[in-house]
């Protein structure tokens, strides 16, 4: 019974976080460009969606951590996080990378123009999201050393991580809505509703902590 339940949860998660963005991409009337560019776009869309999925692979999602072992969840969370962060931190470079193979302005000129178009709020949001994402990633990777050096308690780090995640997500979603070429109404609705649900679950946990701790005290190896 539990195995079946687990399987269905995984299938549903895959369908929501991978299936839906692919579906929206497929059905949307977007101009199709070269294979390389489309592959990069799709990769970025999936990374973005998986970033949103992180809210649901965390302590705040009681149902999931009851169904799975928390350490397993944390492992998956971490694994996806590293993959997603790699793609998203490279996102600005990936946009201009195909210029290496075609006529027109070079990748470096395109990159410089893109990152210095400060009049555009979408670009400012993107820059902010990128910096916040970098902080989020670094403070996660170096959590143990950081906490030890600064004497931060794990619980407080968790709050920091959770709240920063919400901030990153909010800024990133706004950035994507402003500039994302594949952010048609379906994609916007999907991202906003998933992001709000995820953040709501997190705040619910912070504001109304579960009465009985559902996990053992050994959870320090995990990440939130």
């Amino acid at each position: 019974m539990k195995v079946m339940l687990r399987t269905s949860v995984i299938v549903i998660a895959l369908m929501v976080f991978l299936g839906l963005p692919i579906l929206f991409y497929w059905l949307g009337e977007f101009p199709r460009r070269s294979v390389l560019k489309e592959a990069i776009s799709l990769l970025t869309l999936l990374a973005f969606s998986l970033m949103l999925s992180q809210f649901f692979m965390a302590r705040s999602n009681l149902k999931v951590i009851q169904l799975f072992d928390l350490r397993q969840v944390q492992l998956v969370h971490k694994f996806i996080a590293y993959a997603v962060m790699t793609v998203l931190l490279l996102h600005p470079v990936l946009i201009v990378f195909p210029r290496l193979f075609e006529a027109g302005i070079g990748p470096w000129q395109a990159f410089r123009t893109m990152l210095t178009t400060f009049e555009n709020p979408g670009i400012l949001l993107g820059l902010a999201a990128w910096i916040l994402l970098l902080v989020l990633t670094l403070t996660a990777i170096f959590r143990l050393r950081l906490n030890w050096a600064l004497g931060i308690k794990y619980r407080n780090w968790r709050y920091f991580h959770g709240l920063l995640s919400v901030l990153v997500t909010a800024v990133a979603v706004l950035h994507a809505i402003k500039l994302g070429r594949h952010f048609n109404p379906s994609m916007v609705f999907f991202s906003v509703s998933v992001a709000i649900t995820g953040a709501a679950m997190l705040f619910k946990m912070y504001l109304f902590p579960p009465t009985k701790p559902t996990v053992s005290a050994k959870q320090t190896v995990g990440s939130e």
């Binding site: 075609e102 006529a103 027109g104 302005i105 070079g106 000129q109």
Partner: protein, 583 residues
Amino acid sequence: MTTTEQQSGPTRRAFMAMGGSAAGMAALGVNAGWGQNTSVSDASAFTTATHDCDVLVIGGGMAGLFAAVKGHDAGAKIRIVSKGRLGSSGLTPFAKGFFAFDPAQEELTLDEYVAAVSRSALGTNNPVYTRQTAEHSLARVEELKAWGFFDSNLYNKSFMTPIEARGIPLHERVVVTHLLKDGERIAGAAGFRLDAEEVVIFRAKSVVLCTGAGAFKPNGFPVCDLTHDGTVMAYNIGAKVTGKEWNDGHVGRAKNPAATYDGWGDMFDRRPSLEGVGIRHDLGVDANYLAYKLGNPVEAGPGSGPGKNVAGGPFRPVEFADNGPPPGPPEAAGMGDGPPAGGGPGIGGGPPGMRGPAMGGASAGMSIHKSEGLVPINDRCESNIPGLFAAGDALGSHMCGAIYTQIGSSLAGSAVQGAVGGEAAADYARDVETPILEETELAAVEEEILAPLRRKAGYGPAWVTQTLQGIMIPNFVLYIKKESILSAALAYIEELRDHHSPMLRAADMHELRLAHETSNMIISAEMKLRASLMRKESRCSHYRLDYPDVDDENWRAWINIYKDESGDMRLEKQPFDTWPAQT
């Protein structure tokens, strides 16, 4: 241009002209002709900005670049003004072959090279300019290499390198409409900004026109921003213009003819490259003649034509016969660098990779590169107006002659002449006082510039342009010429000149640009028709059905066009191998 505040409806005569001249136009469903002006620009709220310099360079292509750089290096205070962006407007962005004469590499000596060009050009070339381009080409190549010109298919960045290094002020997206005079000599130019409600006045001791040539906004050639503006502005202040009877005979694809990028294969994607000596006799009206005689025989791509032959047609010198009729455009228009695409016996002549039928008039309204424009009075790109110089396609240097002779010489010629003209203009400016611009004259010019914005109703410039295209572009008008049709077309053009040009309306700055461009194209059309009527022979890219032979007895001469004191268009002969008589 007149400034008549014409607010009444068009005359009956004008209506008849519209109906007759553009029979198909209404059926094509083009923009409305006459209509109310939904003006969004408040012409009374315009500001005026005045800029001073020694030498004003008008145009931001290859010629403009070198005119500015060399003028600066000769000690002059320069300004560049362009209606587009430096290196990204006119024909320069699409030209990829650069002719460089390297004496160490070539089998021909310089003298032999010039003689060979003259033979192909049937004497129509000016050997002084033919030699000048070849002589200076390598030096220009070295400079361009240093600026990174050969490293990208886009030219703005490399063009900006020397301009930024010298701190030369650049006015982009400013449409110049008038040249200004102080007495007999040049005094500057005036125009308007596309992005602001501002009239711009340049006070300059000398002006170098690097405005390219032009066409009738044809489909099939990326020349739609070139409308003979420089030529007509100069003509209006008394400059002499030459070479209007010659035609560039490019064909394009019948399918999506207006898609210039698609029609030219990977040309626009390519980086520029060097060309050695390769003299041809191309891009005349051979294909036009075949199409005239046989319908549209110009099928399929290079070398795959049906190889039809037909008696008569343009004369081709025997030694250039094996070139075959016009090759594919890429290498031809000086825009390419590949091997000749249409060298075979077929009558292909389409862009590379072109499949299916071709269409004619891809570059309609344009002459052979550098064979139309201001008449030079010497080898320093100087016009008959003191202080006014021209370079590149804006100068009727006849560097190649009236037929396309040397591959890649378009870019090279513009670079070389730009440098020569820029330096000459700086030399001139050194010895003259700053000109004086009369307030009343400036006010009149401003009035003329803004007139289309102020008209409450008028003709839409797009509609007038399309009417003009309908009159001029047909094969039997522009290319395969005869007295009766040329005269008939001229009657229509005079109608446009007298009753449409003064009634053009403009709702915004973009349309104001179109209005001035349209007026310029109408004057250019009149020049083309009058010169074609006058030249009663056939030679190179000028073909008359009623005078099909080369007439060396009467026509070893260029035709110069100028405005007489009463404002009428006058034509005169200037024998080959001479400079114009100085008055």
